[in-house]
Symmetry: C2
Subunit: 542 residues, 2 copies
């Protein structure tokens, strides 16, 4: 027997419609790529999104077509998300930090018909123009006066384009499973793979992400989306901000301490989110200039782990609470957030920090399990580490064009590629990437734990640990280090330093010094290359 | 083009599954109908819900079957919601305050196969047994020792029943549009009509209801669901509490000030919700005993309007913020909540109170319009009053068995039957029921405004205003009053009192005194009866 409630599809366009109607006066403040601060309201954004939608329709864009964006976080990029997705096309966010080869591959693989871009990225596309034949035109997101000189063909000026259309337009009633947006993973192996979000997954994710224990966004929130919109669906901020009437602050391309501080203070930002690097720069700036953060209530940190000292500094010196967030492109992207539970009340601060160092607990809509190599479920005791598996209404079912084949297990879980433990309260602690874990005598050694310990040595600038073949133990850890500038630290110094800080059987069998370690375009350690370089390495313990 | 995210249906069973897995330690505290306080956890509740589901399956209950509950808010009623809905049947909440005739009609109309009830309600069902032939058995929600003597046939003891089944059970993967629960409207005209919630509507409603600007529930919230679970889906609390890991306090049948105060204090309740009557009793109790409310952060009040003095007392004397909520059985049930917007910051307190007296603003998922009699949209200026129309994924599409026919307009909006204005910020102010508004010379006069003004007179105990036929103005208001005990207040006294408090042309054309006013079983003024009684009344102004 079916219920008798209205069959209203969950559409991304409903988010901007809601904001325009119920929070029309609320502001969106952007630092433009040209420099000046721009401010307008959700009512303005709604109207201009519809103007863009009509312009795209006039250009011949159809439902399901992929339209790329190559842009920093500004109001025009926000309008583009709604204009493109709202009219039924697919917003394909492109990461300008990728290598040219990857960018060309992604644009071509997704068959983008148009690309909306910030003026500064024309050169990047000129360089790969012959490899992106599906692109029919380039829409530069600026006004006529700021249009750049470029050899790109079929260039349009965004402001001129939308000025030709009024805002009289009703978003189409799409199937809620229609593709809304796409984002490619920045894999460390093989070609990037596309994840195709549905309208439904974006709306459900936004609802759950805005809950009090997750991002906690309401109409009194002022959220600065420092995390780029081209990075994993912008952590959902451009979706849940209009859904809840939160004021949105978009920092453009300036991520330095002074620029971020200016917006935090002048716009009275209460909540913000980004990777640790941004916060290192901000904290240094605050320290140097003896400033504080009177409005900022909470910082959400993801992408990689925040150092304990960073969390402690924000919380004790600036009275700004910090939570780790965990997510990935494949899950729209938020999976867990480290807000405290009632059972943590009354804990001493260092114990709370221990928990804050974990990656948090899942909100409704994210189901987790950890398994061993055979797929058996492991206990949630905060110790047993296994493959972190996720399923739910905003978890990927397959990659674009089916690449990678069947990616779910028989229970419907997707393998995150992470190794984690989960404690009795559901807090997840990532211990390694599955492909980086060192399997020694049937037990797992976390390469990340060893790296973190090694870089604690003041003369180690960077460290990577990989497994190297060992006849008795299968694999044993090899520590590859970059010395700090001017240092002559030795293998024995490092091993002495690590002794007692990690389990004895986890200690690296050898230490090698190199001038630099290989990285991906987005700054991740490229361990595949390192494993290739050291595949014939003979450990002294063999 | 379809997106490629997992096709996971939105099921009510996922809420208890989530709570059990991620908030298994969090408590549910109940005052049992037998008296003692009972406490256990979401882990316990999850297991016992599955035991009940298996027991119902063993009794032959099938997907789509209606299973009634006639019970106060306790942990067993909570388990019943999940056990029944989770296994695919339909939880049909029955209101014990209904007249026997209505209860018999509703049970029969919905064809309930079983009824789960508190022991105290056996007599109520014995009296209508011959009129509810579809009911195959009665499950008394207590343990063997407390089983009542009853002439009901096929009586089962809840605890014995579930003790026969273990918790090893996987909720079925239902269609998300499968009926989850049903609730009949307590209409003031005609037979009650059934509203059949879908699993999807319950889950979406729960997500939006838990948002910071709506009920604002998280794992640090302790929410007392004073509003009965048999009343309009219990305002969604039994759904969003497990979804967010909120501790839940269930007060059983005791609504007096002392009982409510005890739970608020001992369980450190932070959030609660009920109709104004309950809060009048609590405030009187606090006043008499010189007590305060150290833990309670917010009271949400709906069902009918809270007096301004009640809101002010809670906020200024007890530092507990108050918000009006508006909803109805037909919308699952929350439509709007009066949490403040950023633009209200810095307003003086009396201006904030003016806004708090309104019914609040819609959250995402609730779309509103106000229209005139011809269906034309009216402006949102806080003045123009029109028919309040609502649509969205948790708004009814039709009543059970199609009764009432087509109930949506051509844009898909459902007519709430309320008359309201909406201001520029989206705050809704109900001014009347559409059928009670007095249409005088083409303009609308709010019967509620006149009644509120009249009862402001210290010697008026209760007042009702109805429209009476007038040859020149079509209708003019007639004020029907009940004098306070011992009062001899006159028509002229009342009119003098009202003069200057309402627009001159709104002033009643006559005042009539009666000994009592007619009410429905749930305490609403029965104006249909009053209109019938006064249908030939001759106004002195004719």
């Amino acid at each position: 027997m079916f219920g008798q409630m209205q069959d209203v599809p969950l559409l991304v366009s409903s988010l901007i419609d809601y904001a325009e109607k119920f929070h029309g006066e609320r502001e969106i403040v952007s630092r433009t790529v040209e420099g000046p601060i721009h401010r307008y309201t959700y009512a303005d954004a709604g109207k201009r999104s519809r103007q863009l939608a009509k312009a795209l329709l006039a250009l011949g864009v159809k439902e399901g077509d992929r339209v790329g964006t190559l842009a920093w976080n500004t109001y025009r990029h926000f309008e583009a998300w709604y204009g493109i997705t709202g009219m039924g096309a697919v917003t394909h966010t492109l990461n300008p930090r990728l290598f040219a080869d990857q960018l060309a591959y992604i644009i071509d693989h997704a068959e983008n018909r148009f690309i909306l871009l910030d003026a500064m990225f024309t050169g990047m596309l000129e360089g790969i123009l012959d490899r992106i034949p599906t692109v029919e035109g380039f829409i530069i997101m600026t006004e006529r006066a700021n249009m750049p000189a470029t050899t790109l063909p079929n260039v349009l000026c965004y402001e001129d384009l939308i000025a030709g259309h009024d805002g009289e337009y009703q978003w189409p009633v799409l199937d809620e499973k229609a593709a809304a947006a796409m984002c490619y993973t920045s894999g460390t192996t093989g070609n990037p793979k596309g994840v195709l979000y549905t309208n439904r997954s974006c709306v459900l994710h936004a609802l759950s992400a805005a809950l009090p224990d997750v991002m906690g966004a309401g109409s009194n929130t002022t959220i600065m989306a420092v995390v780029p919109m081209f990075h994993a669906n912008g952590w959902g901020i451009p979706h849940f901000a209009p859904m809840t009437g939160a004021k949105m602050v978009l920092p453009g391309k300036e991520m330095d301490g002074a620029s971020i501080y200016q917006l935090l203070t002048e716009e009275k930002v209460t909540l913000t989110a980004a990777v640790p690097t941004v916060w290192l720069m901000l904290l240094a700036y605050l320290q140097e200039n003896n400033l504080d953060l009177p409005h900022l209530e909470r910082v959400v940190i993801g992408g990689s782990a925040a150092p304990r000292s960073m969390i402690e500094t924000f919380e004790t010196k600036y009275a700004t609470s910090v939570n780790h967030i965990w997510g990935m492109t494949e899950i729209n992207p938020i999976g867990s957030l480290g807000s405290p539970k009632a059972v943590m009340r009354g804990m001493d601060y260092q114990s709370q920090l221990d928990l804050k160092m974990k990656q948090g607990r899942a909100m409704w809509g994210v189901d987790l399990k950890i398994t061993d190599d055979e797929g058996n479920k492991l206990p949630w005791d905060g110790k047993a580490a296994g493959h972190l598996m996720v399923r739910g209404p905003w978890t990927v079912s397959e990659y674009y064009r089916g690449e990678g084949g069947q990616i779910l297990d028989e229970e419907g879980y997707f393998d995150t590629g992470d190794v984690a433990n989960i404690d009795q309260y559901g807090y997840v602690q990532l211990t390694d990437r599955a492909k980086d874990v060192i399997k020694s005598g049937g037990e797992w050694i976390s390469s990340i734990d060893l790296e973190n310990t090694a870089v604690g040595h003041p003369e180690i600038a960077e460290a990577a640990v990989i497994g190297v073949v060992h006849p008795k133990w299968d694999e044993r850890p090899l520590l590859v280090c970059v010395r700090a500038k001017g240092s002559a630290v030795t293998k024995q110094d490092v091993l002495d330093y690590m002794t007692g800080k990690v389990a004895k059987w986890w200690m690296p069998d050898d230490v090698v010094f190199v001038d630099e370690l290989p990285h991906t375009a987005t700054g991740k350690l490229l361990k595949t290359r390192l494993r290739e370089d050291f595949k014939d390495y003979k450990l002294p313990t063999v």
